[in-house]
Symmetry: C2
Subunit: 418 residues, 2 copies
């Protein structure tokens, strides 16, 4: 089918998804999870074809993201069952007012309609995104990177069987067949068909969406996250937080990329930082962190001199840019100039510094004495996550089921006129 034909099909499925009861949606999700496991053989075979085709053309890390096995499939099915267990966001009355004239205004959560997700080479996003869309009453149209397309197609075929088993239209979950850029652009400009576009991927994809999208779009993901170690920091705590934020999973968007250190403690703290991130890591057989130092930091510890781009780069690797700052104000100003608005942390025992930081740093998540790695739907108690928004319109930070909904005002009366 052409992309336009697929968009027409998914739009036609929209009212049935929007009107589905909680019970019916949950039944569909459990059937989709069952179908995923029942179709394990064709899904793993398709995944093997994807892996064979991709080998040599993409990195080992990317190959690992692409690879499925029985355990990963079971994890995906379990994820769908967990979404079934979450509360239904649709129909929730967000606010209610009875006016003096007797009209009753209820602001009520409703599905967005058709949610489009453009993603890259992680086949598991197929079932994750479809589960969240279905639970929130949305039809969804998925556009997967070509490396994972055979896997995603096999997964989607299973998910559609699950939808049908619960009496919902199969076209509630569609995978775009065209894997060229033409189909991405078609989704970005599908006014009247796509109610919300969520790009999940690298900076290039996000930028393309911001530049070209004519449908409502949410920027996700890019994270140049800062940890600022204040003069009044508990330095042992700061070392733990930075080690966690930088090394526990460097490839994710909530990992730390930049460390700012107050000049009053830089002479004492930076050698400890180097010990923890370099020497201790080597001693434990772990990957050491490359420190890219501004001039003042380089005067205190050895490391790579920071280049002009090092404070504006999402490394997603064992690399940390380090800068000495004069004050909390200086740290806030640096963050304002260089952050992507994802997650920033201050380590301090000074309440005034903490308050200045949380009030004035304009990012989705702002932490006091906590690792930036907690920016995640599960960790924030949302139960799930469709992505992490770095924009301010509609949704900011981790997006759960509520963020896949809009609302409408339902007004009851008995003949009121104005």
């Amino acid at each position: 089918m052409t992309t336009q034909e697929q968009l027409i099909a998914v739009k036609a499925a929209k009212p049935a998804l929007a009107a589905a009861s909680t019970e019916q949606k949950n039944r569909a999700l459990l059937a989709m999870a069952d179908a995923l496991l029942a179709d394990a053989a064709p899904i793993l075979a398709a995944n093997q074809e994807d892996l064979d085709a991709a080998r040599g053309t993409i990195s080992e890390v990317m190959l690992d993201r692409l690879a499925l096995n029985q355990a990963r499939l079971e994890g995906m099915a379990e994820g769908m069952r967990q979404v079934a267990a979450l509360p239904d966001p649709v129909g929730k009355v967000l606010a209610r007012v009875e006016r003096p004239n007797g009209i009753v205004v209820e602001k009520t959560a409703v599905p967005m309609g058709v949610v489009a997700i453009i993603y890259e080479s992680r086949p598991n996003v197929t079932s994750d995104a479809a589960a969240l869309a279905v639970k929130s009453g949305n039809a969804c149209v998925l556009r997967c990177g070509k490396e994972a397309h055979r896997s995603a197609a096999a997964i989607t075929a299973a998910l559609r069987k699950g939808l049908a088993a619960a009496g919902l239209p199969e076209d509630g979950v569609c995978l775009i067949e065209d894997t060229t850029r033409v189909s991405s652009l078609a989704l970005m400009t599908a006014v009247g068909y796509v109610d919300l576009l969520i790009p999940r991927g690298g900076a290039g994809l996000i930028r393309a969406c911001v530049e070209q999208a004519k449908v409502p779009c949410i920027q996700t993901g890019t994270g140049i996250c800062h940890v600022y170690v204040d003069a009044a920091a508990d330095q042992a705590m700061a070392l733990n937080i930075i080690e966690n934020a930088k090394t526990s999973r460097p490839s994710v968007c909530n990992a730390e990329e930049v460390c700012l250190v107050h000049r009053a403690i830089a002479g004492e703290f930076l050698p400890k930082l180097r010990q923890r991130l370099v020497d201790d890591q080597i001693a434990k057989g772990r990957h050491p962190v490359e420190l890219r130092l501004d001039e003042r930091a380089a005067a205190i510890i050895p490391g790579t001199p920071a280049g002009p781009d090092d404070f504006d780069t999402e490394f997603l690797d064992y690399i940390l840019a380090v800068k000495v700052v004069d004050s909390v104000d200086d740290a806030i100003a640096h963050i304002a100039a260089h952050s992507t608005g994802h997650s920033e942390a201050i380590v301090t025992a000074d309440e005034a510094a903490a308050r200045a930081f949380t009030t004035r740093v304009d990012s989705a998540a702002v932490y006091v004495n906590v690792s930036t790695r907690f920016t995640d739907g599960g960790e924030f108690g949302l139960g799930c996550e469709m992505g992490i928004s770095t924009q301010k319109l509609h949704a900011r930070g981790p997006m759960g089921l509520a963020e896949l909904c809009s609302y409408k005002f339902i007004v009851h009366g008995n003949g009121q006129v104005r």
Copy 2:
């Protein structure tokens, strides 16, 4: 100043507005209201120049919208005082969760940052929009149509004096000096400067923003509003609602443009409708409504045959398109195909029909036995209104102070790592 220089200035004012206390913002709003009245003479003189220049080039209705006088200025000042009296949306904790690991996550309302408003020839929008922006902690950049530009410039000069009197930066409210299309396009594409763009005006402006905006944008306004008279309607109530929705103020976006009538009552109801909207209006010396009838309606009452565009036009005039439908499903399908998603009403005593209508009609406001004219921030209890969103992302329906805010997650802990 160039538009770019003005954008730099307003961005520089953003932190001071965002950090201002409720008391300081209220003091600024009262001082802005006082300054508006203190500057009545230069404002009314500038308005006279605008009127003199515009006369002959725009309609009488537009001239009336453009005209200011002492009473209107007092109304504008009073509007600002009312905004000062509203609760401050900034800093409100929208949700709070303490996680098992001890971190406390607070989802906290914060200003958007810089809000841009592009509007046409109503000078009063200058003070309305500035008041709402300041109260919600936003700096604002205003881009007024050229017909009202002298008036808006004089008003803005007064408002900036008020800001300064309260110790806030004057550049928190900027009026773009360039009145050509170049400046509108500059605002639509001011990535990094404008956090939210709200176009307030005709369909052409809204369409241009949707097509060209690269900054987050909210579509407002266009309303092809439907009233559906069900088979089970109280017909006297239906006549009152339709008369109100169509004739109380035909030029506004929540006025009715289309009437759908169930075929079971069409033979009885349509003659009464014609009597009420045509004959009774003439008898009372009011403007009669021109009825544009589909074939089935035209077989029952006299009127203009509806042309191909009449069910897709926001008349904003004493014109009503009338169509006979077979069922509530048929009415819902017609609305899905032709509505702009603003406001629709059903008149019925049948609860099942009402429920089908409120559930399945996908518009910002859906009414049961109430006139569509109530879609308004004041009428919904928001206390004010920046515009009426017809999109589903971020804000839908009347936008008050809360809708001019985003949020961030503020997380406190004592060294938690993941």
